[in-house]
């Protein structure tokens, strides 16, 4: 049996870890970096570039460099999140045949799982080089708020990358595993994860080698990049004030501004002021223009304060879900590069009434946790068990367009829950069971996972027939839904297969294509 790796497939950076001699270890890439940018590019001369190589040329090759594609994966082309990416990204997003967003680089169109697969393959390669042996098994992390489709697409990406994804686990859960690894004490911890692209908060309980997720919450569209964006807008405005030139339509200038903003943001976590110096950012009739500004921590904090406060609201609602007060939390673990910002640390400390835990590296902790879970699943002696939960509520559409939950989010799996429903019309002989996933009380706002009809209901006055609908989630997260007419015993059921934006044939085609490509690469 080969080794199992843990991969943190991040929006902006990815990280891979493995358990070596019982110790979790982060594997550095060829450049010695422990994280690798989740970026992919096709260079002018048609070469495929991944990670640092892609990032290094991103400025000059902005239109053919993909970043933050995790924001698109498993979404529909018309989703507001996709529209937002299209507005901001220098690369071209097109509508795929399954109504999914795809990325066009030159004359080649890539699906989002394909892009993720390229990053995953790179992480796999980094691990193989380090271990000196082939790697097949992996645990991959996703934000807690990823829905079934997004998770399935991430699994597909693993398959395309030649990985067997044992489990998809939530990033904050992984962080808690990393924190709880080897700890004997019973405690309740909060994992505050503000990464590049997403925000997640999870409350977990550790006790005698078992980790139980009490509650999770988050926002898939809130992260460090929002900080960057605020800063970029600020810089654009100030440049326009000073020089009267709008750089918004200049892709190359935007990319430079973005890089500079990100760097300044990081600098301001250490220092009170930062200088932004971008010579020849633009030119007009009067000649070349340079951007030269000084930024203070105070200004930055003023720009993003509301975003940080938004995260605190989510933390509070998560605590409420777990039935805990902030003071009942024994430990706060910070994850994600953005938590290095003093404003974030202070806000979190203030809310919980204690300083966050310092022992874990926020960039590496998720990958480490993933590796720990991989090891825990395959190891002979079971010293650690993760009681994982369903990320989103499951239920059915009921009369009046409502959504009735049968399995609340954060329910430990495997689990079975049932509920009795009835008809809404006299002599109604059939009911349609529409299986939904999501948190809205309105059926239409949630994701439809599948539907089926239970017919042959004995004619009766409305409200009299009793139809038991039950949901069953097995240990691998596969959901089955059944409906039974209690009077006749008639039953209908479906297994809800998480739908991907890719068909199996498409996945196979991509795998085959990549094989060809691999062959080409070899000298």
């Amino acid at each position: 049996m080969g080794r199992v790796i843990g991969i943190d497939l991040g929006t902006t950076n990815s990280c891979v870890a493995v358990i070596e001699n019982g110790q979790p270890t982060v594997i550095p890439n060829a450049g010695g970096y422990k994280t690798t940018p989740s970026m992919f590019a096709i260079s002018q001369d048609g070469k495929r570039l991944v990670g640092h190589l892609a990032k290094r040329q991103a400025v000059t090759n902005a239109r053919h460099t993909v970043y933050a594609s995790k924001r698109l994966i498993g979404r529909r082309f018309d989703a507001p999140e996709v529209t937002k990416v299209i507005e901001l990204a220098p690369y071209e997003v097109v509508r795929g045949p399954n109504d999914d967003p795809r990325i066009q680089l030159g004359d080649k169109v890539f699906t989002c799982p394909e892009i993720s697969a390229i990053i995953l393959r790179e992480m796999k390669r980094i691990a193989e080089e380090h271990l000196g042996e082939p790697v097949r098994d992996a645990v991959v992390t996703v934000p807690a708020y990823f829905n079934d489709t997004q998770r399935q697409c991430t699994k597909d990406a693993g398959k395309i990358a030649g990985l067997e994804v044992l489990r998809i686990i939530n990033e904050p859960t992984a962080a808690a595993l990393a924190y709880g690894f080897g700890k004997k004490r019973d405690e309740k911890i909060a994992v505050y994860d503000l990464g590049g692209g997403t925000f997640d908060i999870s409350i977990l309980e550790l006790g005698s080698g078992v980790i139980e997720v009490l509650a999770t919450n988050g926002n898939t569209f809130l992260g460090g990049e929002d900080f960057d964006r605020r800063l970029v807008s600020h810089l654009l405005e100030r440049f326009q004030e000073q020089e009267g030139i709008d750089l918004r339509s200049d892709a190359m200038a935007l990319q430079r501004l973005k890089d500079a903003a990100e760097k300044a943001k990081c600098d301001l976590s250490q220092r009170e002021t930062a200088e932004i110096n971008l010579p020849f950012i633009a030119s007009d009739a009067k000649g070349p223009r340079h951007l030269n500004l000084e930024l203070t921590r105070e200004v930055l904090e003023g720009l993003v304060d509301d975003i940080v406060r938004q995260t605190l609201k989510i933390v509070e609602s998560c605590l409420a879900d777990a039935g805990l007060t902030p003071s009942q939390i024994d430990q706060v673990v910070l994850v994600g590069g953005q938590t290095r910002m003093p404003l974030v640390q202070n806000a979190v400390a203030e809310l919980f009434g204690k300083r966050p835990h310092k022992g874990v590296n926020p960039d590496e902790v998720v990958a480490i946790g993933a590796a720990i879970q991989g090891e825990a699943l395959l190891a002979e002696d079971k010293s650690l068990l993760l009681l994982d939960v369903t990320p989103l509520s499951l239920g059915i559409a009921t009369f009046g367009g409502h959504f009735t939950r049968l399995i609340e989010r954060n329910t430990t799996v495997p689990v079975r829950k049932g509920h009795i429903f009835t008809t809404t019309r006299d002599n109604q002989s059939a009911v349609k069971i529409r299986v939904l996933q999501g948190e809205s009380d309105l059926a239409a706002d949630n994701d439809l996972l599948g539907e089926f009809v239970l017919s042959g209901i004995r004619p009766a006055r409305k409200g009299e027939p009793e139809i038991e609908v039950s949901f069953d989630i097995d240990a691998n997260g596969i959901v089955s839904v059944s409906a039974r007419d209690l009077a006749t015993g008639k039953e209908q059921s479906i297994q809800v297969n998480a739908t991907s934006t890719l068909s199996d044939e498409e996945i196979q085609r991509i795998i085959d294509e990549n094989e060809l490509y691999e062959v080409q690469l070899k000298p």
Binding site: G207, V210, L377, L378, K382, L385, D474, A475
Partner: protein, 451 residues
């Protein structure tokens, strides 16, 4: 599931944990059989006392096994399970105390010393025999009250509940055997874990826990009251009957109380379930009442439909089942009447085959209708496809009304057609004795003589 007869005989069916028998679509007979299944009575004995033909008992049990309604344990384990918890029933001495909090709390945490069916162990699987033993033993305990399942006393605090849940999870969560070949033990682990999770969730929820405790008290009260046969205030549905009853009804009542009690001992004591049960009973009552109203108004079919629904909602209610007998008889009569009307209409249209089919269907509901038997015999004879069938109807008609000449004549004609000359002669002569002017009988008799 296909088992050898002898293998079956030793098995002891038990209701699957978490099962709500009230939700099964059962006929009253099947409901009775189900009520005999108590985890102690072996299959063999169920064939005797199940109230159905032994083959029917086998068929039902096999179906329920397949559907997961019942599970089986070996006789050995059943014995020790019985030893663990004393058999309940009228023989049990009445608990002296009125329902009190102390009664359910007194149940001590029980060690998992349950005998298991060794034949289920499989050395080729990727989990140790010891682990298999523990899984099998724990699976047998799934119907135990929640706190007992977790190995806790009834007053254990939430911290203890969580600790027990964590410890049991470490042992029984399916991830413990991730990617191992666990054969049928994989499904067992899932069942066990789901149940532990349920116990943990409900015992950690103060509202649900209060309901569980209330239900346990109620159960204790029923148990206490069930001991003297004519207890004045048993809070079970059967208690609404008069205390002065024939012995058979008293036995039925005791059985019903026991069934109710067993129902309550089943692990779905949570609030929602109890509410559902109450709602179902209320619904059963409503259907029963409207059924009886229809019965009074002589709308027999409607009455039977309603009462059948009432039984579906409350299969353990003996009073409803008893009433169902009368209602069903009337409904059958009514249905037979309808079918006979249709059959006669078909006769008027000279549609013999259709008429015969309708008469036969009517006879299913009313087998002793002489006219229907006579006409069916006549039609079957005239169609001539199945003389045996014709003969049976004719014989039935003659038995019911031996002095109707046409009945004898038809039977005689059928015998004649079948070549049974002596029988034919006897019947035709009888017909002529009853009605000397029966030309057709004379004709037939003559035909017989010519042969």
């Amino acid at each position: 599931m296909h088992l050898g007869r002898s293998a079956q005989e030793g098995q002891v069916p038990a209701l699957a944990p978490g099962l709500d028998p009230a939700r099964l679509p059962l006929s009253p007979a099947e409901g009775f059989l189900l009520s005999r299944i108590d985890g102690r009575t072996p299959w063999k004995l169920l064939r005797e006392i199940g109230g159905l033909a032994p083959s029917e008992v086998d068929r039902c049990l096999e179906r329920w096994l397949e559907e997961g309604v019942v599970v089986v344990a070996s006789a050995k384990s059943a014995k020790s399970a019985a030893a663990g918890s004393p058999p309940a029933g009228p023989s049990k001495p009445a608990s002296p105390a009125a329902p009190s909090k102390a009664a359910p709390a007194a149940a001590p945490p029980r060690p998992a010393a349950v005998a298991i069916d060794e034949s289920l162990l499989d050395r080729s699987l990727d989990l140790t025999v010891e682990a298999q033993r523990r899984i099998l033993a724990f699976e047998q305990r799934l119907a135990e009250p929640y706190h007992q399942l977790l190995g806790l006393s009834a007053d254990a605090d939430t911290k203890a509940v969580k600790r027990a849940y964590f410890e049991l999870s470490k042992e029984f969560h399916p991830d413990r055997y991730f990617r191992r070949n666990t054969g049928p033990f994989g499904a067992r682990l899932e069942r066990i874990f789901k149940r532990i999770l349920e116990a943990y969730e409900l015992l950690s929820d103060p509202t649900a826990r209060a309901e569980i405790e209330r239900a346990a008290e109620e159960r204790a009260a029923v148990e206490a009251a069930a001991a003297p046969p004519a207890a004045p205030s048993v809070p079970a549905p059967a208690a609404s009957q008069e205390p002065t009853e024939a012995p058979s009804t008293a036995a039925a009542k005791a059985a019903s109380v026991e069934a109710t009690k067993r129902l309550r001992q089943l692990p779905h004591l949570r609030a929602a379930h109890l509410k559902q049960l109450a709602e179902r009973r209320a619904k059963a009552k409503r259907f029963f009442e409207s059924g009886m109203a229809a019965f009074k108004a002589e709308r027999w079919l409607e009455a039977a439909g309603s009462v059948r629904l009432a039984i579906a909602f409350d299969p353990t209610n003996e009073a409803i089942r008893e009433a169902f007998g009368d209602v069903q008889r009337k409904a059958h009569d009514e249905r037979a009447k309808q079918l006979l009307r249709e059959a006669n209409a078909a006769l008027d249209l000279r549609d013999a085959r259709n008429a015969l089919r309708l008469f036969e269907e009517a006879l299913l509901f009313k087998p002793h209708d002489p006219g229907a038997n006579a006409t069916a015999a006549r039609l079957a004879f005239l169609i001539g496809d199945d003389l045996k069938k014709a003969k049976e109807y004719a014989q039935q008609a003659c038995e019911l009304e031996p002095n109707v000449p046409s009945n004898r004549r038809t039977l005689g004609q059928i015998y004649a057609a079948a070549g049974l000359a002596a029988n034919a002669r006897r019947e035709l002569e009888a017909a002529l004795r009853l009605d000397p002017k029966d030309l057709e009988a004379k004709e037939a008799l003559r035909g017989l003589g010519r042969r």
